[in-house]
Symmetry: C2
Amino acid sequence: MYHIEKSVGFLLAKAYQRAFALFREELEEFDLTPPQYAILAFLWQQDGLTQVELSEKSQVDRTTLGGLIDRLEKYGLVERHTHPHDRRAYQIKLTPRGRSLEPQLRECSKNALAKLTSGLSKKDVAELERILEILRGETRVYEKPTF
Amino acid sequence: MYHIEKSVGFLLAKAYQRAFALFREELEEFDLTPPQYAILAFLWQQDGLTQVELSEKSQVDRTTLGGLIDRLEKYGLVERHTHPHDRRAYQIKLTPRGRSLEPQLRECSKNALAKLTSGLSKKDVAELERILEILRGETRVYEKPTF
DNA sequence: TGCATATAGTCAGTATGCTGTCAATAGGGC
DNA sequence: GCCCTATTGACAGCATACTGACTATATGCA
C-alpha cells in the first residue's frame, strides 16, 4: 500500500521544511532569512560577483535573486556597483555592515545545523551529505575546473 | 575553511529543489504541481478530511492549504462539502475526476523518483529514507497511535 | 560598419509558504 | 442560558521560486 508520507519526495520536502524553519528561527533576531544568508555566504567567500555568477553559484533563479538582492540592499548589507567592463551587469558588493555580520550569522547557521542533526550520528551526517550530493545531480558550475 | 555549498542545509535545499523540479516536469502535462499532488495523495488515502486534518497530515500551513484547495477545486479535482457536525469546517472530497487521475499521477511520482535517485543504490535510498525520517523531528500526527 | 544572436537584469504573473489577525462557530463550566 | 476560551477557515502582508517576455548592451561575423 502506497503511503505518500513514506515517499522520498515527501520526506525530502518535510526535512527541508524543518531545516528552513530552524534556520529562520536562528536568523530572526537579525531580521534575515535563510536564502538571504546563503547569498551573503557566497559573497563572504567571494565579494563582487555579478548577479549571473551569484545565481549560478547559489542555484537561485535570476529573477528571484534580483528580489533577494533588493532586500539585502534595502537592509544595507550589500550594494549594486556598476560593472567595470559590462554596462549591463552589476558587481554585488558587501557593505562593511554586511561583512561584519559574518561571525554572528555563521554562529546561527551552526546552531541551526546542530538542532537539525541532533538525532543523527556523525556517520549519519556524513552519509547524508554524500547522498545529497548525488541527488543534486550534475556538477555545480563552481566545481568545474578552470582550464 | 567554511563552504556554504558543502553545508547540510544548503545541500538539503538544493536536493529538494531538484526533486521538486523533476516532479513538476512529470506533472506538467496534468497542469498540476507537487504540493497539489501531495494533497490529492492524502485524499486518495482517506477522502473527506477537513482542512485541519489535511494540514496536519500534509504538514502544510492552514492558510497555504486554503489556497491549494482553492486551485484544486477550480481544476475540478476536489470539492468543499459542509461538515455534518461542525458548521465552521468543510469536508474536502475528491471529485470523480480527482479520483480517476490517481493511477497516472502515481506513475508521474514513480518516474520522478526514479530520475531523482538514479545515481543511488537501493541501500542508499533506504539509508536516505531512514535519515530523513530522523531529520523531520518529532512523530507526525498521523503516526500517533489511536488509544 | 551593420546585422544577427546572445546576454544581464528586470517586469508581470502565478504558485507556495509563513505570520498575525479576524469572524463565525464549538464546547465546557457555572 | 451566559460567558469564556478554543477552534476553523479566510484575509492581508511579505518572502521565495519559476516561466515568459522585454530592454539595453555585448559580441562575432561578413
